[in-house]
Subunit: 514 residues, 2 copies
Amino acid sequence: MAAAPSLLILHPRLTTTLRPLSLIYHQFTVHPSPPTRLLVLSARSRHHSSSTSPFASTTPLNSNSNSNATETVRAGRSNSVSSPPLQPPEYAQKIDVNPPKGTRDFPPEEMRLRNWLFHNFREVSELFGFEEVDYPVLESEALYIRKAGEEIRDQLYCFEDKGNRRVALRPELTPSLARLVIQKGKSVPLPIKWFAIGQCWRYERMTRGRRREHYQWNMDIIGVPDVTGEAELISSIVTFFKRIGITAKDVGFKISSRKVLQEVLSLYSVPETSFAKACIIIDKMGKIPMEEIKKELKLVDLSNDAIEDLLQVLSMKSLTELEEKLGGSGEAVRELKNLFSLAETFGYSEWIQFDASVVRGLAYYTGIVFEGFDREGKLRAICGGGRYDRLLSTFGGDDIPACGFGFGDAVIIELLKERQLLPEVPLEVENIVCSLDPDLQGAAATVATHLRGKGQRVDLVLENKPLKWVFKRAARINARRLILVGRSEWEKGMVSVKILSTGEQNEVNLDDLQ
Amino acid sequence: MAAAPSLLILHPRLTTTLRPLSLIYHQFTVHPSPPTRLLVLSARSRHHSSSTSPFASTTPLNSNSNSNATETVRAGRSNSVSSPPLQPPEYAQKIDVNPPKGTRDFPPEEMRLRNWLFHNFREVSELFGFEEVDYPVLESEALYIRKAGEEIRDQLYCFEDKGNRRVALRPELTPSLARLVIQKGKSVPLPIKWFAIGQCWRYERMTRGRRREHYQWNMDIIGVPDVTGEAELISSIVTFFKRIGITAKDVGFKISSRKVLQEVLSLYSVPETSFAKACIIIDKMGKIPMEEIKKELKLVDLSNDAIEDLLQVLSMKSLTELEEKLGGSGEAVRELKNLFSLAETFGYSEWIQFDASVVRGLAYYTGIVFEGFDREGKLRAICGGGRYDRLLSTFGGDDIPACGFGFGDAVIIELLKERQLLPEVPLEVENIVCSLDPDLQGAAATVATHLRGKGQRVDLVLENKPLKWVFKRAARINARRLILVGRSEWEKGMVSVKILSTGEQNEVNLDDLQ
């Protein structure tokens, strides 16, 4: 076969009337490939064929006289049984070539970018002495049942499994971490410093160009009550930003403490049960009208006076102002001041600022909370974290102080794009090995095996191809050397080695080929 | 705080009456930690608490007068609202500390082993010039609807999402690969050489100590019709085995071709629609009684003569014998002979053997099939693969030849354990930095930041701890150096550096500390 076979495909763009946001969700698309020279089925035939796809129909199982007696097909849909005779009807079907709504494929160029990002997450975590862990992507739904009105809870990607258990695709990693820490008990000495890079899921109406899955980098410290924990966590994120070229001019951290709210609310005999709910409501500030915020705060038993006082404190952007309001003896002010002082010694003062309005959207935070933000104000929060000293005890474990952060893969890629900091991560296969004769395919295999044994990457040409084709492929994979196996050389145990950057070509004995 | 706080936990072993196989599923447990010095709740109280867990109850949503008006809680369960007043009832609950049935956590020691394994998968794939890709763990169920009676289809972990779409946690990676290749069309030049390492799921009764999830390493070649493709794939698996210490004495590959069956069946006018079904039935040989196999083959329209002839051919272990039966002109024999000849040039002849009984359990294979097996016969197949030239066209793409393999993370770990080849993968954090005075915590942060800036891993002690504690932690993390920040040295800009292997200690200027 001298050329690649032609490929009749369903043009993905023709599916846009079905799934208009599919390109927007795809955060990792760096080099979109133009759909050149394609034979394309018409939109009409595409839509016709999609009527048997799960995106367009919920028809129950067909009555199918041809079905195998031993099968246990679940209620759902059936594929066609009237396919052409050359293709067994058992598995002939047109499929939707797109990944399910809100999810992504990672073709090679996007996978290289993901690996680059994760490699940086991992290296920074390891610089800080953290150990990597992971948990199941599917967890018991009970792990996420918190009634504080969190968005993350409303958007839980949950379902019932075949054994009638309520399960959920994890929306975040912290509850799994807490579960594992309690399970491990004293077998792991404190403090625990763990990091994870895991896929997280949510289910929401797809109206805002947000995906249903993303990857999240988490770092957590279990067993350290002091704000040195939070200071260390923020230091690691700053280290990450610096590594990938993001500066304090691009990004800052807004820092506050839930204890600020707690100390204000304690002046007004607000029931403790209202605290987490109030935090979640306050987190919606800027997203829903202020009148709505006030109405919701009243619903969780805050008086008008308490609400006015709270909103006044939440507007504060200076620790001095906060200290004037709350006094210097409370934990909120003391811990915040300590954190800002530690930031100087860590060397990231210019990255952080006090902002009382930051409360974060998770119910379990109890102390310091922080979020990384784009200083141009175009993007959503880049990352967020804080102290959650009571999560382990509310899960049935002992009281162990804890803090951590979550850092998603979506907004950071948007930011890197905005700042033109996305790296080039090319494919690099050092060698391409090709036989010049169909009979020498085995000899080429010998050469490839020899080089791979030396730790060299080799793309072995598996068919007989014209040299023009081989040079084109060599360029695509950024090969450094082309190794040609020709009859006369091979009879002497030699191969021809061409350095592709210079064009220099030599005959080399296979044993000497490094 | 001078010591780690004590931790009252639910001893996981007390849950064994609920989940007796939890330790068996956990393939990566290398160093099980003995549950020493634990305060343990009694089995009775454990079981009592579990009555509110999703594993013990399917009670629908409680009527809850305290629920937030803005909440959209899905039908399922509700947690208690009568918790003690100090813990907000909104999220107080006892959780099951184990991961869901059939799934695993990866605490640090098991994560290091997983990373070691995946690193080897990745490095070998890259030596062969393959590019990494990934697909969503959640796919449309339609991608897996094949009616050939496959086990993988019967065990599909499928459900309906909130938008009434039939989806499934992927049972394998190949259908996603086919979907992405069709979607990409001509934008990716052939041959495509892709690899992936992804989590796959199945749902089955948990009776055989098998997990519901595992990771699978796949390598696939799209666009190569010749058996050079299969030869290259087997070479990569052999390279992987050699890297991790597995020899041809431990493992072999059984190789056959579905074309053998096809050529036998073509003698008996067996309908083509029966072919995939017959293969799936034959794959059960050795797992169910031979009489059952014959009965099932009759059900898919094979005559008694065809069945007897088929079974006779399936017992063949020699290519010469096969050639006598089928003649030398058919594709089956020609391709198999070619593959065995290529194996010599690749240098892995001693690893492979012809065995006509190998057909593999996936419906879509059309040509060469192979499986890696433990020569001691104790373990299930280690890996398996083959040619699937028609999968893309049955999905609505053009006819493109393809081959690939899947290699799970479970059996290989069992094999490495059996052969005592599991590597030690210790935690290694080069430096531990500690202040000798609470006031010097910030100075210690400065030192840690300095070292991390030099690319050194640092475990920063975040609280004031006695030196004895610090030495113990240094030993646990395998630190090379202990860096102490004391008042008199710090005033001179110096720190004390102790090499832990020799005990040698020096005062070093921070600027000179590398």
